[in-house]
């Protein structure tokens, strides 16, 4: 079947364009909407966790059961209608799919045993794929058959960097060690400056790609029908960002649900563990110049250095959280939701990053050569995968969620708020 772009006419024009096929809007204000089902989109949703979609009878139980849903244009019933009708454009510009925290309160109570929570998960995946730049990387990340390419890229690039480090160093002017404070006891293959430049370059590229994706997404968001006609912001952007970050840090939205409560715990661990690791990584990168590090910058840090402690605690937190997530997905699928490749890819990547990190650390303490170098190499490959593919993987949720939540905060789209009696 041909796929076609959905045109959702807006305002007066929309009404003028009404054709005999027009049917009342599935959610808002009864204005006619042209439905031009994108069948390929429906199929993609059904393949990636939304297979129960077609059973929905539009009863609204899910929107009423959802602890996070606002009272005007609540979700996820309307998203179910849009998904059923293949209204891709509506879904991809919908902030609500990102307000959903996938607790599955709606799914466990759905009278048709449809799983709206999982359908929204599938829509989120499509959303990331849709906005990601360049699209080809998004395609590779979303399909297991491209996994070898994804792994080969960092392996080859890192290999080349190590092999030609002297040439690169000369080119960059780093051929001499960067000062006497630095003692590298660990990986002569990957000197500090090399890793910094290598990861610096690719992080900047990934960041640029992420910004493009999120920028496209936020433009889409503005077109969404959920804001109602002529929405008035109730808060400034910065104030909204502030309160969203506070909510994210507190895991407020996670803890409101009944069905899958342990998710808040696992996410909490992964989230803060990850932040700890990020802080330590920044310390490592800035090590030679960082006034917080006294004396010689010895990398790796000694076991009792506060940074090493923080790294180990953070790593353990991520490990505990991610194992809990994996365990939930394996044994409590009905709560955690269906698990698509996209979901698995993120949790396993994080697991592999921390697991290979700890393996490297232990092998290093045992002074096992070349094992520790091999482990380090593998670790770096996974770190590359996690960071550089962030804009294309489920990891991008942190950007998309934050964006949608800020917008929702700005327009007063709060859980349990909105409709007057």
């Amino acid at each position: 079947m041909e796929t076609s772009e959905i045109t959702v006419p807006e305002g007066e024009n929309g009404q003028d364009e009404a054709t005999p096929l027009d049917i009342p809007s599935p959610s808002t204000n009864g204005r006619p909407v042209r439905v031009d089902p994108d069948l390929e989109f429906i199929r993609a949703l059904r393949r990636s966790g939304g297979d129960s979609l077609k059973k929905c009878m539009q009863c609204g139980n899910c929107s009423a059961a959802c602890p996070l849903s606002p009272h005007v244009n609540p979700f996820p019933r309307k998203e179910m209608a849009w998904a059923l009708w293949g209204m891709k454009d509506r879904l991809l510009t919908d902030p609500d799919i990102w307000l959903c925290h996938h607790c599955n309160d709606c799914s466990t109570n759905c009278p048709r045993q449809t799983r709206p929570g999982d359908v929204l998960g599938a829509v989120r995946q499509q959303c990331i794929l849709h906005y990601a730049f360049p699209g080809i990387l998004a395609k590779w990340v979303s399909h297991p058959k491209y996994l070898p390419i994804l792994l080969a890229i960092p392996a080859i690039l890192l290999g080349l960097a190590a092999r030609y480090r002297e040439a690169i160093g000369e080119f960059l002017g780093f051929s001499v060690p960067m000062g006497d404070r630095i003692v590298y006891s660990f990986a002569p293959m990957f000197p500090h400056w090399l890793l910094n430049s290598f990861f610096g370059l690719f992080t900047v590229l990934a960041l640029a790609a992420a910004i493009i994706g999120v920028w496209r997404f936020s433009r889409g968001l503005k077109r969404s029908s959920v804001w109602g006609e002529n929405p008035e912001p109730v808060k400034g952007v910065l104030a909204s960002l502030g309160s969203v970050l506070l909510k994210v840090v507190n895991h407020d939205r996670f803890t409101t649900c009944d069905t899958d409560h342990s998710r808040s715990i696992s996410h909490f661990f992964v989230f803060f563990g990850f932040i700890a690791l990020t802080v330590v990584t920044i310390m490592v990168i800035t090590g030679p110049f960082n006034p917080l590090i006294r004396g010689d910058f010895v990398y790796p840090f000694s076991l009792w250095s506060p940074w090493k402690l923080l790294a180990n605690i953070g790593g353990l937190a991520v490990l505990a959280g991610i194992l809990l997530m994996i365990w939930e997905r394996l044994y409590f699928g009905h709560l955690a939701g269906t698990s698509s490749y996209f979901d698995w890819l993120l949790v396993w990547s994080i697991f592999l990053v921390v697991a290979s990190g700890f393996a490297t650390e232990i092998l290093h303490m045992l002074r096992m050569v070349p094992h520790r170098h091999v482990a380090y190499f593998v670790h770096l490959v996974f770190v590359f995968g996690l960071l550089v593919y962030l804009p294309y993987s489920k990891f991008a949720h942190m950007l998309y969620r934050t964006t949608a939540m800020v917008m929702a905060e700005r327009y007063g789209r709060e859980a349990g708020k909105g409709a007057e009696s």
């Binding site: 959610s27 009863c59 929107s63 005007v72 609540p74 019933r77 109570n109 045993q113």
Partner: protein
């Protein structure tokens, strides 16, 4: 018509069983009607009025009891159950167990005797909403028109009162459980239904909030012979409700509960909305539904209510009910799916439109019959000579029930006449 026909055994004395019995008996075939409760009538006599005509069930019921009483072809056994059925079409043997009523029926008992008793027992006719004494009259329209003794419930004082106050021969406290076997040619299963247990729907708060009731309770509250003498009152404080919600499909059309549509609860709620509007002209009613299923001519009943300004229909399934701890109002979580809003929904009384579960789901007939996944019987039960009618076969209203019962009677008669 030949007098040597074996009788038709009808199991269940609700409207389905009574109809099948009189239809067969009135064309000359003998019928044995077995009912487990102390009186006939099943669920229909428990309702206040019945749709679509909104007449009290007692008038139709009285016509049926008159037809039964006057017909020598019908043998009625109440407080009785069928324990075993063996044999084949045309030659079944059924073992019937009859629990003692302790009331002989030979001498009538004056109500003043009942008043002197002290111990109470839950009144199953009123869904346990009130109590009766250990000697009681099942309900005002009871047939057979006899008192019953619940021996377990009697206190020692009550026993003394009974021996003293009852006329001699009225009671037989030594009456024993009775068992007998009869030969029958065909069997009609008309064991009916019960309401879906609202305890299985914890989200809807039946066990948490006193003012959340079921549609079955509503029928009893509205009925003049019910626990409140026909006054619809909030159970929590005995006050008149001013703002009532009906929650449709409470357990029905739900894969986690009853996947099927219970067919009558939309009409039942519309009917009950009328009870409220008639009793309290200022009261407001809101019906929360997935679809209003009023098939065929019943649609008219719905359109009449749509005209009523005080009745609102909201398309949306209620997900949760909680009580406001301060005001004791009931707060409903629901999306108005047409408006795309979750309105602030507060009521002082909520009626759960619970659905229909066949009695055969947990107490099957002692025969190898073909039940569906939910315990309903097909009209043809998979055993030759055994038929089913009424809510034992699927959720349905009285008019449908009586038609099926007549059909079942005809099929049973055909069995009796075959070779």
């Amino acid at each position: 018509m030949s007098p040597d026909h074996k009788p038709i055994l009808v199991i269940g004395g609700g409207i389905a069983g009574m109809t099948a019995a009189v239809e067969a008996a009135e064309v000359g075939y003998p019928v044995v009607l077995v009912e487990k409760e102390p009186s006939l009538g099943g669920r229909v006599v428990r309702s206040h009025r019945y749709f679509p005509k909104m007449c009290p069930p007692t008038c139709g019921f009285e016509i049926n009891t008159r037809r039964i009483r006057g017909n020598p072809n019908i043998e009625v056994h109440t407080m009785a159950t069928v324990e075993e059925v063996s044999g084949d079409v045309g030659a079944f043997r059924a073992r019937i167990k009859k629990n003692p009523r302790y009331v002989t029926g030979d001498v009538s008992i004056d109500d003043s005797v009942v008043e002197q008793l002290t111990s109470d027992r839950p009144n199953e006719f009123n869904m346990g909403l009130d109590t009766t004494k250990g000697l009681y009259y099942p309900h005002t329209a009871a047939y057979p028109p006899l008192h019953v003794v619940d021996k377990e419930a009697l206190s020692d004082g009550d026993v003394a009162v009974l021996t003293e106050a009852c006329p001699p021969g009225a009671l037989d406290m030594d009456m024993a459980e009775e068992e007998f076997t009869i030969d029958v040619g065909a069997v009609i299963v008309a064991t009916g239904w019960k309401g879906y247990d609202p305890g299985n729907l914890p989200n809807l708060g039946f066990d948490r909030c006193p003012d959340v009731i079921t549609n079955l309770i509503m029928e009893r509250l509205a009925a003049p012979n019910g626990p409140t003498g026909g006054k619809i009152l909030r159970p929590s404080n005995g006050e008149a409700p001013t703002n009532v919600a009906f929650v449709q499909c409470a357990g029905s059309r739900d894969e986690n509960h009853l996947p099927y549509c219970s067919a009558v609860c939309c009409m039942a709620s519309l009917k009950q909305a009328r009870y409220i509007r008639e009793a309290y002209p200022d009261a407001k009613v809101t019906v929360f539904y997935i679809d209003v299923r009023t098939l065929g001519r019943l649609e008219k009943f719905y359109y009449e209510l749509v005209e009523d300004e005080n009745i609102t229909f909201v398309k949306g399934k209620v997900a949760e009910i909680n009580e406001d701890p301060e005001t004791h109002e009931l707060i409903l979580e629901v999306e108005d799916t047409v408006a795309g809003e979750r309105p602030d929904s507060r009521f002082d009384m909520v009626v759960l439109a619970t659905g229909i579960v066949p009695n055969t789901a947990d107490s099957p007939i002692p025969l190898e019959l073909d039940y569906d996944d939910y315990g309903f019987l097909n009209g043809a039960t998979g055993v030759e000579g055994v038929f089913a009618a009424g809510c034992a076969t699927h959720p349905c209203d009285v008019s449908r029930t009586t038609k099926e019962s007549t059909a079942a009677a005809l099929k049973a008669i055909q069995c009796l006449n075959r070779g």
